[in-house]
């Protein structure tokens, strides 16, 4: 077994340990806590009055636009990280390429701002 895989076994062990911790705490609580159900307790909370409608509210479409923009910038970060590590090897060529890449994305962000999609009113 190589060091590499051993590292990820550590990750696995930690996920397991974390999940066991949560399970144990919930399990112990389920042994200790009272259970005294009434119908009113199982109603959805809406500040004390009877809930109106079917639960889910509508949310605005502009949240979706932020999701789209985020994908662009997160993918950008994915590209930039390996380049930052290999900056010396890639040299001037890589540098110019990356500045062009970032500039294009910046133009995109400026376009989005000028279009007013980031306006929130």
């Amino acid at each position: 077994m190589t060091e590499y895989f051993q590292d990820y076994i550590t990750v696995g062990a930690f996920i397991g340990l974390g999940a066991v911790l949560v399970l144990a705490m919930l399990g112990v609580a389920s042994l200790l806590r009272p259970s005294n159900p009434t119908k009113a307790k199982y109603l959805t909370y809406e500040c004390g009055v009877d809930p109106v409608g079917d639960g889910w509210a509508q949310s605005h479409v502009r949240y979706y636009i932020f999701g789209l923009l985020f994908v662009i910038f997160d993918v950008e970060a994915v590209f930039i990280f390996p380049w930052a590590i290999k900056l010396e090897e890639l040299g001037m060529f890589g540098l110019v390429e990356m500045v062009v890449f970032i500039a294009i994305l910046t133009v995109g962000l400026v376009y989005a701002i000028r279009k007013g999609v980031l306006k929130w009113e």
Binding site: E3, Q6, D7, I9, T10, V11, A13, F14, I15, L17, G18, A19, L21, V22, M25, L26, A29, S30, R33, P34, S35, N36, K41, Y42, L43, T44, Y45, E46, C47, P51, G53, G55, W56, A57, S59, F66, G67, L69, F70, F73, D74, A77, I80, F81, A84, I85, K86, L87, E88, E89, M92, L95, M98, I102, L105, T106, L109, I113, L118, W120
Partner: protein, 368 residues
């Protein structure tokens, strides 16, 4: 090659340190906030009320746990796991003390105090911090209720907006550290490596200035500011706590949670605060480094470096609490404006500036 028992011991250590700090942190926050507000704060359970968190935790064990009839059961029960586990994972890559040379099976072995010393440590941390948003959005959605849903949607939009800026500020740090003079071309994505490269001073030859530590805080100050603002937003702390804005949406995404399940979200919030602060300390404040570490050796130095690490993390956590007690909450449009129109462009600009400085250092002036 590390034996299994050693790997397990490291995992356990990280676990114990993480949870222990959280128990203290809740008390620390309540005490500081009460001081800042001219109140006494918790003072009954144990000396200075230090056991208050334990008492509150025990109380939650005995509280009835209600699952409202409208929830999506599976996702509703899954969300607390998704909140706690990634928060713990984030702590794996942070080195909490100075590595120590030990003898293992008769051979010398350098024992590092990051439970997980991988070469993509920073990416791992970034990935774990983005998984945290799933807990919020799934908890909000699965509750089948209006306030949690609004809180969940707000939370996801906020987290993704600030994650972009956080990632970009980290890139600048990685680039700066990777190309430090005198360093071989080993990638500096491992948090351990970044901390190691911040040891020493900027001007070892100038006696008057030789005390200035070689922390990334100084050359990368704008990145530090961006990173700090972003982690406030990522952990949903004041002034960015719109996810659980009490006056508007009750308790936000965890409105329908009660008993121990609620406690899990609470635990995750404080764990995130701690791990993010620890990451900030490792990236910008020299991690476990501090004065007099070179004058002593062996386990004493390790213990001292652990002390430095806790002290610095404590300072960052104090900042969290201080800001919470000082600043009012942002409005949602202000939050988005700050994220997209200020932080991301600033981060991009700083990244380009850093690139230029680093290339100047690496390749020389273009006119030469």
């Amino acid at each position: 090659m590390m034996p299994i028992w050693l790997a397990l011991a490291k995992v356990l250590l990280a676990f114990v340190v993480g949870l222990g700090v959280v128990v203290l942190l809740v008390w620390f926050e309540r005490k500081i906030v009460s001081d800042l507000q001219n109140r006494i704060g918790p003072n009954r359970a144990g000396p200075f009320g230090i056991l208050q968190t334990v008492a509150d935790g025990l109380k939650l064990f005995f509280k009835e746990q209600i699952t409202p009839s409208r929830v999506e059961r599976f996702v509703f029960e899954l969300a607390p796991f998704l909140a706690v586990v990634p928060a713990l994972m984030l702590f794996l890559v942070v080195p909490i003390a100075r590595p120590i040379e030990i003898t293992l099976d008769g051979a010398p072995y350098l024992l590092s105090f990051a439970a997980l010393d991988i070469n993509v440590g920073l990416l791992f941390a970034l990935a774990m911090s983005s998984i945290a948003v799933y807990a919020i959005v799934l908890a909000g959605w699965s509750s089948g209720s209006k306030y949690p849903l609004i809180g969940g949607v707000r939370g996801s939009a906020q987290a993704i907006s600030y994650e972009a800026a956080m990632g970009l500020s980290m890139v600048a740090v990685v680039m700066w550290v990777t190309t430090l003079p005198g360093v071989t071309d080993m990638g500096a994505m491992s948090v351990n490596e970044i901390v190691l490269r911040q040891q020493g001073t900027f001007f070892p030859d100038l006696l008057a200035l030789s005390w200035i530590p070689q922390w990334n805080l100084i050359p990368q100050f704008p990145a530090f500011v961006i990173f700090m603002i972003a982690i406030f937003a990522e952990t949903n702390r004041a002034p960015f706590d719109l996810v659980e804005a009490e006056q508007e949406i009750v308790a936000g995404f965890n409105t329908e949670y009660s008993g121990m399940r609620f406690a899990m979200f609470f635990l995750a919030e404080y764990l995130n605060m701690f791990t993010m602060s620890a990451l900030a300390v490792s990236l910008f404040l020299g991690g476990w480094g501090g004065p007099f570490l070179d004058t002593i050796d062996g386990w004493a130095a390790t213990a001292l470096s652990f002390g430095y690490f806790l002290f610095k993390t404590g300072l960052v956590l104090f900042l969290f609490v201080w800001v919470r007690a000082t600043l009012p909450r942002f409005r949602y449009d202000q939050l988005m404006q700050l994220g997209w129109k200020r932080l991301i462009p600033t981060a991009l600009l700083w990244l380009i500036l850093t690139t230029l400085v680093v290339s100047f250092r690496e390749f020389g002036a273009p006119w030469a």
